[in-house]
């Protein structure tokens, strides 16, 4: 959204044919890197971000002035150790942090694309990001890692480019968006669409934003990232800066105030149309369907070593959906490890300080790099 700060950008010259049938070319991919690429170029890790993430994985995000979204996991000495590995992360196409997205202007019309932007898929996103390998002259990534929608991109990437990664780490994700996942995304999209400021997606050129609708979308989604137990422990029925209930529709409860805050800060950093496009891409994701319903076929060509991680309290992408990927891989004798991490922090566990998770991730990477 903010273009005043100089974002690192790769302009992809080559045409990219999208699943919707349209072709894009000369489009930007905004990326960031951490650590340094060694001489053998065998220490690169491509990190894929989730729905509302961006390329600023760790350290200070120059746009939001907040810590990067995966600061617990990525950095010097951390699970993904940037003293050792070269970490690349790019904003997905359809996003709003510099990569080609609906808030960009159409050069032909000089108008913001809005909902005239092509509908994208996870497949389109990884095909676009694949260009980063050539850009850095990397023949094979040491690892591809991502949680949630990042995990879906990991699965799609290794399916599309089976010999381009040595290790593959999909975290808290699924190979196919469930009816429940689609339902929650639709709730968010309808919240945006029902904000009159949205105006069928044509708000950018009028310098207004559908902030109310986008905030409600974020509030609803935020609930799905937490567990019931986590919410209960953190908030319970605690009241917000008051002695008693007020018999009004103010935020009496701390949880209400917390959600309202989450909604309000989100609208400052995220574009409503990007939210529509990216949630749509997630809903369309069904990797097995791309292989006539046989998920194993998606991984038949790869010799990569997989490590799949889920969390006990994640009800958005529950363990069973992660295990279905393990089962598909075992069915073809792939090299796959799996662990379900105990955590009360819900789907968000992968972003938080969950030591068993971070240790497992670190150990897997470091041991695999030695081999």
């Amino acid at each position: 959204m903010n273009t005043e700060i100089n974002l690192k950008t790769l302009i992809v010259k080559e045409p990219l044919k999208l699943d919707c049938g349209k072709t894009i070319n000369d489009f930007p991919i905004a990326y960031e890197t951490y650590g340094s690429l060694n001489k053998k170029k065998d220490n690169a890790i491509l990190v894929f971000h989730a729905l509302t993430g961006d390329q600023f994985v760790t350290g200070l995000n120059p746009i939001t002035n907040k810590e990067g979204w995966w600061s617990f996991a990525v950095g010097p000495g951390k699970a993904i150790d940037t003293n050792k590995y070269f970490v690349i992360c790019s904003n997905v196409i359809g996003g709003c942090m510099g990569s080609f997205g609906p808030s960009h202007k159409n050069p032909d019309t000089q108008k913001t694309y809005g909902t005239n932007f092509p509908v994208l898929t996870i497949n389109d996103m990884v095909n676009a990001q694949y260009n980063l390998l050539n850009h850095f002259g990397i023949n094979k990534l040491f690892s591809i890692v991502g949680g949630s929608m990042g995990g879906m991109q990991v699965l799609q990437f290794i399916s599309n480019f089976p010999d381009k990664a040595k290790t593959v780490i999909p975290i808290a994700c699924t190979s196919s968006h469930s009816a429940q996942n689609i339902a929650f995304n639709e709730l968010g999209r309808q919240a945006i669409a029902s904000d009159s400021n949205w105006d069928e997606g044509n708000y950018n050129d009028k310098n207004i934003i559908p902030n109310k609708g986008l905030a409600v979308a974020r509030m609803a989604a935020h609930i799905t990232y937490l567990s019931k137990k986590g919410l209960q422990e953190k908030f319970g029925r605690k009241l917000q800066e008051r002695e008693d209930i007020k018999f009004s529709f103010d935020a009496d409860f701390q949880i209400e105030s917390y959600l309202r805050y989450q909604g309000s800060v989100f609208v400052d950093r995220f574009d409503a149309n990007s939210y529509l496009y990216i949630t749509r891409a997630m809903d369309y994701f069904d990797l097995g369907k791309q292989f006539k319903g046989n998920l194993s076929e998606a991984f038949k060509e790869t010799k990569a070593k997989f490590f799949i991680i889920s969390f006990t309290s994640d009800w958005l992408y529950p363990t069973q959906e992660n295990k279905d990927i393990v089962i598909a891989l075992n069915a073809i004798g792939a090299d796959v490890g799996f662990v379900e991490i105990e955590s009360d922090k819900g789907h968000d566990s992968f972003l938080l300080d969950v030591p068993d998770f971070l240790n497992s991730l670190k150990n897997f990477l470091d041991k695999s790099y030695e081999e």
Binding site: F307, V326, I327, N330, G333, V336, G337, V339, N363, K367
Partner: protein, 198 residues
């Protein structure tokens, strides 16, 4: 590494594909990987032990032998190992059939309830036996279906499993079990090791 694992390792040729069911902290897996170039996988129910294995660079899946063996295709491993846990399953016969479906061969070890110390304990003390291989009290033991070496041999025969090798282990040494010495081995061994095929 315990003697049992050395005996198991000796039963497996180099460069094979092996699944260790209930691999615990991966000691046997690591030995097979490092010393025999085995393509080794593990299945383990404890999250903590799975994490220990991952820290050793071993490929392990968190799961339960009764439910999670079914994801592996028929004969997808040369050997499947089950060390001292058959007696702890609700339905050992289902598990052993799964082992023999997934593996071309299975290596199963059992704590021998016919071991003389076990018999003596029950005979003289009249309480449930506690030995090195059976360390738990009756009320907290995971073991549901204890058997003797003789029981296992009879079971394998009744189900037409081919027994390639039966070994009796006591403390130091392993020795071959055959039809003529079954009775005595059943008395002097605290562990039975069987290489079987269906």
């Amino acid at each position: 590494m315990k003697n049992e694992f050395k005996v198991i390792a000796d039963l497996i040729e180099k460069n094979k594909r092996v699944l260790d069911v209930g691999c615990a902290d991966g000691t046997l897996m690591k030995f097979l990987k490092d010393n025999k170039n085995i393509n080794i996988r593990g299945l383990e129910i404890s999250k903590e032990k799975v994490q220990t294995c991952i820290a050793k660079g071993l490929t392990v899946i968190e799961g339960n032998a009764e439910k999670d063996l079914k994801q592996f295709p028929d004969k997808s491993f040369d050997y499947v190992i089950l060390s001292q846990t058959l007696q702890a399953f609700l339905d050992p016969e289902v598990v052993i059939n799964e082992l023999l479906r997934v593996g071309k061969k299975a290596i199963v070890t059992i704590p021998n309830f016919g071991y003389w110390k076990v018999r003596l304990h029950l005979l003289t003390k009249g309480t449930m036996p506690i030995t090195k291989t059976l360390p738990d009290e009756w009320y907290n033991t995971p073991n549901l279906h204890m058997c003797t070496i003789k029981d296992f041999v009879h079971f394998a025969k009744s189900r037409n499993f081919k027994i390639f090798k039966s070994l009796a282990l006591n403390n130091q040494s392993a020795s071959i079990i055959n039809n003529s010495n079954l009775g005595i081995k059943n008395l002097i061994a605290d562990l039975g090791i069987f290489l079987i095929e269906k």
